[in-house]
């Protein structure tokens, strides 16, 4: 089964395998440093469940769940 960033619970971590999705969203995600091979920790979900906050080497990023779902983990 394919596991995406969206499937992580707060506190869990994973390593990026690939980024699906297209165009601007995909490029934006990669420009922000989420490239294949990057380790991520799911920090938290927003109080209303969406978006989510992830952390990579002291850098905090928020993204919507639909976007997190395009990031495939190993």
């Amino acid at each position: 089964m394919i596991r995406t960033l969206k499937d992580l619970n707060p506190g869990e971590s994973g390593k990026i395998k690939a980024i699906t999705g297209n165009g601007s969203i995909r490029r934006r995600i990669m420009d922000m440093g989420l490239v294949p091979g990057t380790e991520l920790v799911m920090e938290r979900y927003a109080p209303l469940g969406d978006p989510v906050e992830v952390k990579n080497q002291g850098f905090h990023l928020s993204l919507r769940k639909e976007e997190a779902d395009t990031i495939i983990l190993e």
């Binding site: 927003a46 109080p47 969406d50 905090h60 990023l61």
Partner: protein
Amino acid sequence: MKKKQVVIALAGNPNSGKTTIFNNLTGSRQHVGNYSGVTVEKKEGRAKYKDFDITVVDLPGTYGLSAYSPDEVVARDVIIKEKPDLLVNILDASNLERNLYLTTQLKELEVPLLLVLNMADVSEKNGNRIDYTLLAKLLGAPVVRAVGSKNEGTEEILEAVAQFISGTSGLAERQIRYRHEIEDELQKIQELLSTKNQAFLEVASDQAGSHDLTYPARWVAIKLLENDRELMGRLATINNGSFLADELVKSRQRIKNVIGDDPETLLVEDRYAFARGVCREACHRSGLDRVSLTEKIDNILLNRALGIPLFLGIMWLLFQLTFTLGGPPMEWIDAGVSALGEWVGAHMAEGLLSSLLVDGIIGGVGGVLVFLPNILLLFLGIALLEGSGYMARAAFVMDNVMHRAGLHGKSFVPMLIGFGCTVPALMATRTLENPRDRLVTMLVTPLMSCGARLPVYTLLIAAFFSPQVGGNILFSLYLIGITLAIIMARVFRTFLLPGETEPFVMELPIYRWPTLKNIIIHMWERTWLYLQKAGTIILAMSILMWGLFTFPNVDNQGQPYATSAAQLENSYAGKVGKAVEPIIAPLGFDWKAGVALVSGLGAKEVVVSTMGTLYSIEDNDALAEEEEESINSFAEKAKQQSGFTPLTAYVLMLFTLIYVPCLAVLAVMKRETNGWKWPAFTMAYTVILAWLVSFVVYRAGLWMGIGV
């Protein structure tokens, strides 16, 4: 001696402290405008150092230089077309690796580069040590240490600029090399460009006709390989373009066959790999990844249970700051302007000139100035929210709700401010980076019932409803406004501005203390823009309104009208009111309501007092003060002369809520969107929407026999 003219451009990630460095370099010598054709803000300033006169261009903060966001396109266009003498790259030293990603792309534009490692103190406190000399050598560009918030490094940046202009840095040029599969293809593309398609470099550079602008060949090759939207688009416009496009498809396919990934991803990966490599050599991390203060704060502010109450509390404070604290100064301005008007009126012979001066010009200037306290205080609040880093959290907390309505988490702030006044609310949409999010927010914010509409409601409610239901009536109006805003946002998103949704992907920067200098410059900048760009239009419109209500000031025989009611009825505004009567008659309105609505264009609060004048209510001030006697007399006359029922009164309130915010709002919208298109659209859609909603409510009310 004539000073040497130098142009430098500041580039860097958002949150790298670029604005702070810009403010340090230029102080108050700044100019804010817009890049032509787009709503991206253009900031320029001047700095003097030794015998240099330096123009500093502050580029939009970006993470990369792709063609997907207008900010990034503007940044790279300015670098290529305006060819600054030196590109100053501001980097967050505490987050060097990520910030170097942009640096790799800036280098490819082949403009001399100076690196400024900002927030060095934070980085050092985290236990990082950076070897500046080695970093400079690895990147082939001089490096300066800076702490923008303490104004450290400003002198050094200027000195580095001066040294660069006077000579060279002595550093060997370093280009980023990609993996060899990519380099091979880049080589091929460059050959194609140079032999067969010399014209392409020229065409790609400039469609305006000037020939001395050329994109760097290697950069063009890289962008074509990664399928850059903008350059691929230009390819279609030249001879041989389709041949090149075919070759590019082959190149991409070859890479994909060998490595199994598309070139765009590989290029991004290689840039990050380069940045990582540089960091590994030049930086020594303590290795600790301790829980920072920011994380501790976020554990509270973004807590699942506390996040929303705290957010609402902070928003409440922002609202109170803007409007409660802004209230008294607004009254002073009001009182000052009235006093000036009275003084002028008393010292001039009664007549047209005095009326123009007092009601037209002084009233108009007052109408401009009266928004100042709100704007200053709101931008104080916004500077605090943005400077501290909370604004991104506010978006994080609210995005779920706002996104459902087709908006962005950050749309909440302008819409909230809209309950106070739409003018500063529209200015607050600047916190939204994405143009479509921003435009939709701007279009629906006028539906948030502003403070000027409240006196219309309270007066009409007092005149036509019992105190028991008054509260519910008022609440229903606010609720209808919010509901319509949500519906319209969805409609605009779907039909007016369709297309893929913009990424929400957003950095949550570390919390820091906003600097006083940044706050003051931010407040001043916004206020000045308002005065300069919107203020003049508001003033002109006020004078126009005055003319509409004043002329013709004599009847056919050249005699002045006996009463102000008669004068108003015969003025151009009165004629407009009569002309629109057939259109508004299905809503239960007569021409008097029409005139009142026309007067409401200037400022909504006057809707009722205009009707008062038409009903010849002598003491209009008492009406505004909601004195019982005046209200009863108003209600009586509205019933007799205009056939008003509670239902008509409610429909009038509805119409007032929805139709054209006010002229000041249109003026600000013109300034914020760079043209009259969107204000004209807003005017049209709100009038049509107001009519439709009023019609439905009025007819339904009649049919069900409610309030008749």
